[in-house]
């Protein structure tokens, strides 16, 4: 049984999206729990992608291929995840902050959050503080996730948190941040509740924040 989990994580790591659906289906056919296929297979692979990317052993094109494989696997898995764990984990609003147009990482976090059972509202990129505020009012999320790729734009996360505070909404949501230049120290300094070092970690942080609420 564990061989299939390993195979799935390798498929994700190597970005073989054409092999992912059949491998996931095989697991389901063999009676493996959908959640285990996700946790012990796909996510293990995706986590390794995050680690290798940070270390410089994987580059953006390879990460994109891995994300595709993850996506293809999740598509097959998703209906089964809902039946095995019917309650939604919560609601997450995601966006890349104003001035930043990079969305690959943020979209990955979205995919991982969906995999973890969250309803994800993806606001896209270059999202102004007022858009975040509007989304909080409209969607009443449990968690707001912000991302930035550049050091020039990551300060906008602090401004956005401040704006959410000023709008009187800070207590309603947990806020998590991430992106290449962000670290725990920065997250703490700007008053975020959590920091995700990669996409898998981001989804885990969202879960923890909801559990703690």
């Amino acid at each position: 049984m564990s061989a299939l989990y390993e195979k799935l994580s390798t498929i994700v790591l190597e970005g073989r999206s054409e092999d992912a659906p059949a491998a996931v289906q095989k697991g389901l056919d063999e009676g493996l729990d959908a959640n285990d296929i996700l946790q012990k297979g796909l996510i293990v692979g995706m986590n390794e992608v995050g680690v290798r990317f940070k270390r410089g052993d994987m580059f953006v094109p390879e990460v994109l291929m891995s994300a595709e494989a993850m996506h293809a696997g999740l598509d097959v898995l998703r209906p089964h995840l809902v039946t095995s764990d019917s309650k939604m984990a919560g609601k997450v609003v995601l966006g890349t902050v104003k001035g930043d147009l990079h969305d690959i990482g943020k979209n990955l976090v979205g995919m991982m959050c969906e995999g973890a059972g969250f309803e994800v509202i993806n606001l896209g990129f270059n999202v102004a503080p007022e858009k975040f505020i509007e989304a909080i009012k409209q969607h009443q999320p449990d968690v707001v996730g912000m991302s930035a790729l550049l050091t020039t734009t990551m300060r906008m996360m602090g401004h956005t948190i401040k704006a959410i505070e000023e709008a009187g909404l800070r207590d309603q949501v947990k806020i998590m941040v991430g992106g290449a230049p962000v670290d725990q120290e920065f997250a703490t300094r700007i008053g975020a509740d959590g920091y995700g070092s990669n996409a898998v970690h981001g989804a885990e942080v969202a879960e923890k924040l909801v559990d703690a609420a």
């Binding site: 940070k54 270390r55 410089g56 953006v60 094109p61 994109l64 291929m65 001035g99 930043d100 147009l101 990079h102 969305d103 690959i104 990129f125 270059n126 550049l150 050091t151 020039t152 734009t153 300060r155 290449a180 230049p181 670290d183 120290e185 920065f186 300094r189």
Partner: protein
């Protein structure tokens, strides 16, 4: 205060090679090292490269770092016995444009800007070069998808040069890149950079008493470069 007899060592990214060499007074630096472009793509490696070189300097020195924060690559650099002097800039573009203010102005006018420089065009990378490399690895269709994913939100390609000669010399290649980038609706612009930031860095390196300058970060011996020192 740093003793005047302290040697000056310059560790810089190759992107500043010409600008620095042209302005460095003879005899000022006891050692000048330039590092490869593109180290910032893996910030962890940039940090290790710079830190290793710093640690290899035996005599306590004023080490001038020709870098910015560079995607956090310079975050957590330990000064050790040295004094560090570094532009308070996010990356080389602010330094090449001459000021943080001008960089922010460019940034605000179009956040989705990809900058080309002489150095990048010579031996760094650009979207067209990346595409060519991706085609070899993944085939044209996959390569195009990879490129779209990375650059589809960009709207402008800016070539920053420091002389009309450089503009002339590198324009043909810049235009090739521009042609490719049209697929995302990117417009091409040329901008003349400024040597003001680099000139100031050289002046400060020569006279350590002037170190109180909001556009630079100075780390005393035993200190550490921190991301927070760069954020303004």
């Amino acid at each position: 205060m740093t003793p005047p007899e302290q040697p000056v060592v310059i560790l810089a990214c190759k992107v500043f090679k010409t600008l620095l060499e042209e302005r460095l007074p003879g005899g000022l630096a006891s050692r000048v090292e330039f590092f490869d472009y593109g180290l910032h793509r893996i910030p962890v490696r940039l940090r290790v490269t710079v830190q290793d070189m710093l640690d290899s300097i035996e005599q306590p020195s004023l080490v001038v770092l020709g870098y910015g924060l560079c995607g956090n690559g310079l975050n957590n650099i330990q000064a050790g016995p040295h004094t560090l002097l570094i532009p308070r800039a996010d990356d080389c573009i602010a330094i090449l444009l001459g000021s943080y203010k001008r960089y922010m102005h460019e940034f605000e006018s179009e956040p989705g800007t990809y900058y080309l420089t002489k150095g990048w065009l010579e031996s760094g990378s650009d979207p067209l070069k990346e595409y060519t490399e991706c085609v070899e690895k993944y085939g044209p269709e996959e390569a195009q998808w990879i490129m779209d994913m990375q650059y589809q939100n960009y709207r402008r390609l800016v070539f920053v040069a420091h002389s009309d000669e450089d503009l002339e010399a590198y324009r043909p290649r810049a235009l090739e890149v521009a042609e490719y980038c049209k697929r995302w609706g990117m417009v091409y612009e040329e901008v003349l950079g400024s040597d003001v930031y680099v000139q100031r860095l050289v002046e400060l390196a020569a006279d350590v008493d002037k170190h109180a300058d909001p556009d630079f970060v100075v780390v005393p011996p035993g200190g550490e470069l921190k991301q927070s020192q760069f954020i303004r």
